[in-house]
């Protein structure tokens, strides 16, 4: 789950330079209802530590400065691997779930 979430976060960041709460909103709107910023932030920090994302501080119209994340080349390579791996896993799981008694 944790690895999948990291992949999803990276995908969102690859599409748009964005900040923590906005990432959370995208994830919540796409089925990850129970997530909090507390779950997202350590994962983004980990992606930052691994060199997959970089950040810059930008002023926010609402108040405090925000960390805006963008993807790095290393992150893009990781994302491509993640997507390929996910497609294979997805395909395998779908095949297994579609199995019937006769096929076994």
């Amino acid at each position: 789950m944790r690895g999948n979430l990291e992949g999803c976060i990276l995908k969102i960041i690859s599409i748009k330079t964005t900040y923590g709460y906005e990432i959370l909103e995208y994830l919540r709107n796409n089925g990850f209802d129970s997530l909090t910023e507390g779950t997202i932030y350590p994962l983004v920090l980990r992606l930052e530590k691994l060199g997959f994302v970089r950040f810059e501080m930008r002023a926010s119209p609402l108040g405090p400065k925000r960390k805006y994340y963008s993807i790095t080349d290393k992150g893009r390579t990781y994302l491509e691997d993640f997507e390929a791996c996910w497609k294979r896993t997805n395909e395998s799981v779908r095949n297994i779930l579609a199995l019937t008694e006769e096929q076994l």
């Binding site: 910023e37 926010s60 609402l62 925000r66």
Partner: protein, 223 residues
């Protein structure tokens, strides 16, 4: 604390400020690089401030278990190197000296008999003033230590407290021996030497630790 963080803290509710204090105390015990810790503080305060604007509590934003959240943060950040930890110990020791030496000196001056203070042997004597000083100083500093420990009980368990008390008494006796040798119960040039050396060690360890931490943080940011 930087001005920016202070400004943001104004937007945070009192309850959230209490949670932030707990988080920072908890993170402080995780041996995190001082600049990383400062960044984290800014991030947490920013999260709380944004949460407050949306009408959410920090516990809703970060999850109900702040320790779990902090553990996850700590797992992904830059920690102090062994050299930084060594410098921190030197800094704490010299700070202890800076606090205790004058305290011992003045306790002795007011409650002891400076004329008789001429060697280590006096440590074993039980003159009223000496005994009072020996009890007063540990009571004062030990009390502060226990208070700190209670406020930050996650920093360690019973064993840590015992170690702390042991460490304190050992430090106290070392300092006492040093004060007998250098101070002799009188304000002489030796007092100045002690003060200068303690101050130099304190300042030196602080500055070196700061520059090492800063260099490591810059190296991390540069990738």
């Amino acid at each position: 604390m930087s001005r920016e963080i202070r400004d943001e803290l104004r937007r945070v509710t009192r309850a959230d400020k209490a949670v932030i204090n707990k988080m920072m105390s908890y993170l402080y015990t995780r041996s995190i690089n001082q600049f990383e810790l400062k960044n984290m503080q800014a991030e947490i305060v920013g999260m709380a401030a944004e949460g407050a604007l949306r009408g959410e509590k920090l516990e809703t934003v970060c999850g109900p278990d702040y320790k779990k959240f902090c553990d996850e943060l700590s797992a992904n950040c830059l920690h102090k190197s062994k050299f930084e930890l060594f410098l921190e110990v030197v800094m704490i020791l010299s700070m202890t000296c800076a606090i205790l030496l004058p305290f011992i000196y003045f306790t002795e001056l007011f409650f002891g008999d400076p004329g008789q203070v001429n060697g280590i042997g006096i440590l074993l004597s039980f003159e009223a003033g000496q005994l009072f000083g020996m009890l007063l100083v540990p009571a004062f500093c030990g009390g502060l230590g226990v208070l700190f420990y209670q406020r930050n009980s996650f920093a360690g368990k019973g064993k840590t407290l015992l170690l702390y008390i042991l460490f304190y008494f050992v430090t106290y006796f070392i300092l006492r021996v040093l004060s007998e040798i250098f101070l002799h119960g009188e304000i002489t040039i030796n007092v100045l030497y002690t003060a200068v050396i303690t101050g130099a060690i304190l300042l030196g360890s602080f500055l070196i630790k700061r520059s090492v931490a800063s260099a490591r943080m810059k190296a991390k940011q540069a990738g």
